[in-house]
């Protein structure tokens, strides 16, 4: 998958944080590789501590890369200089999770949007104003929003502003770090619709980071499932969601309650039978999911499974994927109607 056409290419990315003297560093991301083409959405899914946010920050230059390589449009940007980063910012943008802290409360919406353009050259005042108004219209906000402060807007409206800011310089890749998890249900749907529409219109690539598989599934073409900094499963979104190969992906899908009392009751039964906890495993020489895996065998605790390709093309890091796949041990509990069709 090292084709030169990739917009973003991440190779063996490892990020470690120092935990102070005398303690080994915390490995937040451990040898993660994936690539993303133009106009594609790649979903990164995982729970807290999976390293999904750190991967996004490393690509943006906000987290230190310990090892590995990040290429953007063919150019190596792993250790790009501050100057290079500033130039890159026109092509590589971000929408953060929390719309409350991602906008400076002391700056008006107009200032927040226009400064992004002024960071690169000295555009004419009228051009900036025109672009700000056009962008506000694109994200569904009135043009008189420019004179207001973030405090006057609801969470969903602020997230629209954050999206407008990311798109001001017409980037090619936007990293969406849990952009809807702080929003209410109905507003989440509004923002997801907006993101999808803007992707078509501006031909954007998205790296969509979320803990919610249903959200990721809705927007992504491909999904990468992460657990404790490692890729567990990586494949086509529909395939991963409907026929998960890795026991962790199965656990994630089973744990999410579905909004149907009867189906949820049946799922609950299945879930309880599967729940286990075992002794912790040495991460370096074993599968990090082994302690929680219902299919664990001795080998899982002594040797780290490599990512292997399944016949359908999905990559999975599990010693037992062949047997689990053929004997249907990963068969899913009942799903709501709409997602099984």
């Amino acid at each position: 998958m090292t084709d030169s056409g990739a917009l973003l290419d991440v190779r063996d990315l490892t990020v470690e944080y120092s935990r102070g003297r005398g303690r080994p560093p915390l490995r937040a991301v451990d040898g993660v590789s994936f690539s993303l083409t133009a106009r594609e959405t790649l979903g990164l899914v995982g729970e807290s501590g999976s390293g999904k946010t750190t991967i996004g920050r490393a690509i943006l230059g906000l987290a230190p890369v310990t090892a590995g390589e990040i290429r953007f449009a063919g150019e190596e940007i792993t250790a790009a200089s501050r100057q290079r980063r500033r130039a890159l910012s026109t092509e590589l943008q971000v929408v953060f999770q929390d719309p409350y802290s991602s906008l400076n409360p002391t700056r008006t919406i107009g200032q927040t949007l226009s400064e992004v353009m002024r960071a690169h050259g000295r555009p004419a005042r009228e051009d900036v104003q025109e672009r700000v108004h056009a962008m506000l219209e694109h994200v569904g906000l009135p043009s008189d929003a420019t004179d207001r402060y973030p405090a006057h807007f609801s969470g969903g409206q602020r997230q629209r502003v954050a999206i407008a800011r990311a798109l001001m310089n017409q980037p090619r890749l936007v990293i969406c770090d849990e952009p809807t998890s702080a929003l209410d249900l109905s507003v989440q749907a509004q923002v997801l619709n907006l993101l999808r529409g803007l992707q078509h219109e501006f031909e954007l690539g998205y790296l969509f980071i979320s803990h919610d598989l249903a959200v990721v599934r809705h927007l992504s073409h491909r999904i990468v499932v992460l657990y404790r900094g490692r890729i567990m499963e990586h494949g086509d979104a529909a395939a991963v969601y409907a026929n998960p190969a890795h026991p962790y992906t199965v656990a994630l899908l089973d744990a999410a309650p579905v909004p149907d009392p009867e189906i949820q009751q049946q799922r609950r039964g299945v879930r309880v039978r599967k729940a286990v906890t075992g002794p912790p495993v040495d991460d370096a020489n074993g599968c990090s999911f082994a302690p929680r895996c219902p299919h664990v065998i001795d080998r899982c605790r002594t040797s780290r499974p490599a990512l292997e390709a399944m016949p359908e093309g999905t990559l999975v890091a599990c010693h037992r994927w062949r047997e689990l796949h053929t004997n249907g041990a990963n068969s899913r509990p009942p799903q709501p109607l709409s997602t099984t069709t």
């Binding site: 729970e47 992004v116 109905s186 529409g197 149907d260």
Partner: protein
Amino acid sequence: MTTAAIVEPLDSGLAPATDRESTRLLRRLLRRPVTVVCMVWLAVVVIVAIVAPILMPHVASQNAGNIFKVLQGPSRQHLLGTDSVGRDVLDRLLVGTRVTMLGVVESVFVTLVIGVPAGLAAGYLGGRTDRAIGWLTDLTLSLPGIALVLVVLSIFPSSMLAGMVTLGVILSPFTTRVVRSATLPIREELYIAAAQVSGLSRFYIITRHVLSRILGVVIVLAAIYAATSLVTQTGLAYLGLIVPLPAPSWGGMVGDGISALTNQPWLIWPPGVAMTLTVVAFGLLGDAVRDVTAERWSGARVQRPGRRRAAPMAGAGPSPVAPAPASDALLCVQNLTVRFPSRGSVRVIDDVSFEIAAGETVGLVGESGCGKTVTAMSLLRLLPGDGEIVAGRITFDGRDLASLPEEQLRRVRGREIGLISQEPMVSLTPAFRVGWQLALSVRVHHGVSRRAAQATAIELLRSVHLPDPGLVARLYPHELSGGMAQRVAIARALAGEPKLLIADEPTTALDVTVQAEILELLRELQRDRGMAILLVTHDWGVVADLCDRAVVMYAGQVVEQAELNPLFRRPLHPYTRALLMSDLHNAPDLDHLPSIPGSVPKPGAWPHGCHFHPRCGYATAACRDQPIPLEHPTAGRDTRCIHADQLSVLR
């Protein structure tokens, strides 16, 4: 896809546009009478400082006045009396203003010019810069301040400029430290990361994004330094060190007054009062400017902490609305209405009624801003701020909690009604071990011995399935993971063996696999203990997993309540229906997800008639005309919609 298709109908709830920036700031300052007085006083001082020495050029060099009229009190000729050599006190006071004020400006300017950039650089850049600046501030702090000023003044005798610049330098490390510590948390804000990703330069980010946030701190510091400078000047002038005699200064005049204190006590008053008023004016104006600049962007008037009103409802409950309930429910809420006087007395909860039977789990569902949490908290009268129950009855086990005296209510809280919140960590005190805190709860509720309480605490930890409860009891809260902390919080809520557990979004902050475990635990505890649960949540999946019945709230009202299956199958309120449909699990595999246009209106901005009608596809004129009552179309179902019969089966 065209733009028009992407853009959803706009969220409502924008505040009406107000006038522009610059005028707004001044207008807000002028709205406060105290601020106006301060501004007038300081304006007079500045004008006098400029004008007086020009109008009375002779005063500065006057060595003696009328030697036959020394040390006189106020008279018609000398409004403020005369000093020990017969000079007019008023003249000297006015002329001395300039040199005094110049000194203040010099020292404040110097300390800010050194301290603010240094603090910003140290806080924002961190690392080596921070260490270097920290080292320099430590060095400056270790110098003996007064001695330094005296040394400088011995080199530059009677120089106000030299003295005040030195003072400014001595004060600058304090500025640096305060500014640095104000900058540190701002550096971690996401908008700083966003600005970096936008390609903005570091200088731009520091000046526009960081400085604008710490401006309040700088303003308050400047006001404090102005006062400090004035007081320091007095001391130095009293020693005759900073103003060449016979030129007058306020400090020098205080010195004169002190030397003549036994002969003429009046002399110390004019300069003393002038200084005191100026110091007070600096302080008050500094605070006011800080508040007003924050008001500008925070969108709310800064509330000055006022006197807290006495418990608004205790005993004298104005709840004639509802007769005592006929049902035998464990909890019966009738016509509950809550408002916040500080927010313009708008109602936040309006006429809410629902019941919970013993051992039942009821979901309180709705989006943020619908009043779910306020409803839950009002059951224990634990409303935030000055929220008060203005009407309604909360019957729990035969007592009305809305009017129960505080003392008796305290025995209900924790013992009969337990509470767990979204942030379990917040409810645990970080300084004490988990076991100790649990044991304390047990002792408070049951009055048992220390040892028995400890044993019960371990038992409680075991009952929430924490592995190795003895070990967990010895941990501090920060050593727990999110899921463990929520289990501990549940254990503590169980300490009083409550009949009702209020769980406010208990799993929202948790990972989905941990959420499943906590839901399982709650189900088991309820089954074993027969405890009723009021589950506040916005997640339909959680409702479907745990609840028997659900109460749906929208904009402060109950809009629907029903048993779970009929509610999910055929909601009888358009809001419930739309909210269910915007759940991704229910969403068809389409490009465009169903969503509700607009957003929940804020309290005070509720529309007339049905609160949901502006966002509702079924709305007619009748929905706008008058409030919609809660109807009971079939047994066990309530809906606040007149078009309920038009809603089709959802699945």
